[in-house]
Point group: C2
Chain length 305, copies 2
């Protein structure tokens, strides 16, 4: 993990499944190649939108190894590795570090609720010590709307001070701009702050952030990348408004993961993309039709998919 | 899993750790033997109070195999096997069924929030089909205060009808007596309803329930078992009041798991029992002193520990 920092737009890549609900490595690799060709700086595989927490350890390792074998530079990969169980977070993080990944995106252990900052600090400390690999780079993953267990700003600060160099950044999926602003105060200390949604991208860049890691990048990567590349230009707010419009449509017709898969299935003309693993369910047909209709009306496309 | 039903008091056994935070099979086996000797009908190892979701798959399998090898009849065991990831729930459930366990206590997949009953039904269905073992017996584990994802009564009914014989019971840790009452309506259809706390034990037995699976049984098993055995007697309400008093004290001084371990450490004169795995932390010394003091005042003891 000695590669230069990843900055820009990263996609938490959706995971394709076969009809038997097994991960499909070939569709996965094709989608990853398309995302990188469209301008994604990197891939945060095994994020929330990847249904990563519905994947077993071996499934994650196999997909990651296959992706690297397919030619993706591990320096562009930040796989999610945070599990409930300490030894599993350690195993996945050590595996990613050994493969040469740019870093790992690490959820806090999320089963027990109302845990203390001290307990979460000990958890991250124990993982770092057990992995014991100087190449390890951790991006803290704060997503209280799903994990319920968050990573409060004072804990981020404590971890950054205790493990400088190892704690590399944070993904803020709180949806609370005030929290992202509070994190940006640590950008000068080397904390790379990624917005968890493209709707905060321009503001995040203006505040000294590093980019965004966002569901929307699965289907709208090029336009989001334009906001990242041109954020200093006078036209940036108009570009931001454009990606906001698409995001609003994506969110309006049902759960995000099923919507992303329906959109991908439609534009790739590949129905297999609709498959989700339980406990998720596919978007009902009527909702998918409405979603696609609105996207087409807005001039949305997925060129080259 | 052809043994007769387990009815009575089951302990979600606390899991001892070494100073290096590894599970300690010998302390675990000793505590299990004590619980059975004290009157527990069975052991729901790897429950919430077992820190099961902080254990890796291999750690759970090793502890379970060691417990059976130590002489505990698998017909008295209902290990927790519900994980976020489908293949892991399948692996643990198949392992328990192959060992001859009485059943498995199965959390719903709990990372994604706000999932539909249809999605949860598909999840349980897929697990049952993948395990593909006629010996599999599932106790549904409803604990919304921790997992956030619950198992609503209509879903319990649907699963019971779709998989009669396989869906064997439910543990209701909602803390909501109205929910337990609603579940008891299915007792006649073969659903064994376990209260998730001893405070509901007498009411649950009066309503046709099967017993309780409760944190408190880790430290107060004999008294709780007396309520189970004598619930029809005129003295039952006084016995219930006695175990309620102890439960109230156990809950009054901090998080339950750390409290159970502190009490066990004190009465076993074995400080190693205090160790919890992150993200949990031990009970602060002052809280432990207050807790032990109140328990002693109430005449509490753990004879033979």
């Amino acid at each position: 993990m000695s590669a230069p920092s990843l900055r820009g737009v990263l996609a938490p890549v959706i995971t394709p499944f076969t009809a038997a609900l097994a991960p499909d490595p070939h569709r996965f690799q094709r989608h990853c190649a398309w995302l990188l060709a469209q301008g994604c700086a990197g891939l945060a595989v095994f994020g929330t939108n990847s249904e990563a927490n519905s994947l077993g350890l071996d499934e994650r390792k196999d997909l990651l190894e296959g992706l690297v074998a397919s030619g993706v530079d591990p320096a562009r990969l930040i796989p999610g590795t945070g599990c409930c169980a300490l030894p599993e977070t350690v195993a996945l993080s050590a595996h990613a570090a050994a493969l040469g990944c740019a870093g790992v995106l690490m959820l806090p252990p999320f089963y027990y609720k109302g845990v203390s900052d001290e307990g979460l600090f000990r958890s991250y400390s124990e993982v770092i010590q057990r992995v014991g690999d100087a190449r390890l780079r951790i991006y803290l993953y704060h997503i209280p709307p799903v994990a319920n267990v968050g990573i409060p700003v004072p804990l981020v600060e404590r971890l950054l001070k205790a493990y400088p160099g190892t704690i590399k950044g944070v993904k803020d999926s709180s949806g609370d701009w005030a929290n992202t602003e509070a994190l940006l105060a640590y950008a000068g200390d080397g904390l790379e702050v990624f917005a968890g949604s493209e709707v905060f991208l321009l503001r995040n860049m203006q505040g000294g952030g590093a980019g965004c890691i966002t569901a929307g990048a699965n289907v709208n990567p090029a336009a989001i990348d334009q906001v990242y590349r041109r954020w200093r230009e006078p036209g940036a707010p108009a570009l931001q408004a454009g990606i906001d419009r698409i995001r609003t449509i994506l969110q309006a017709h049902g759960p995000m993961i099923s919507a992303l898969k329906a959109v991908t299935a439609h534009f790739a003309q590949d129905p297999a993309w609709r498959t989700v693993r339980p406990p998720l369910v596919e978007l009902p047909e009527a909702q998918e039709r409405a979603l696609i209709h609105e996207l087409l009306e807005a001039g949305f496309a997925m060129p080259g998919l």
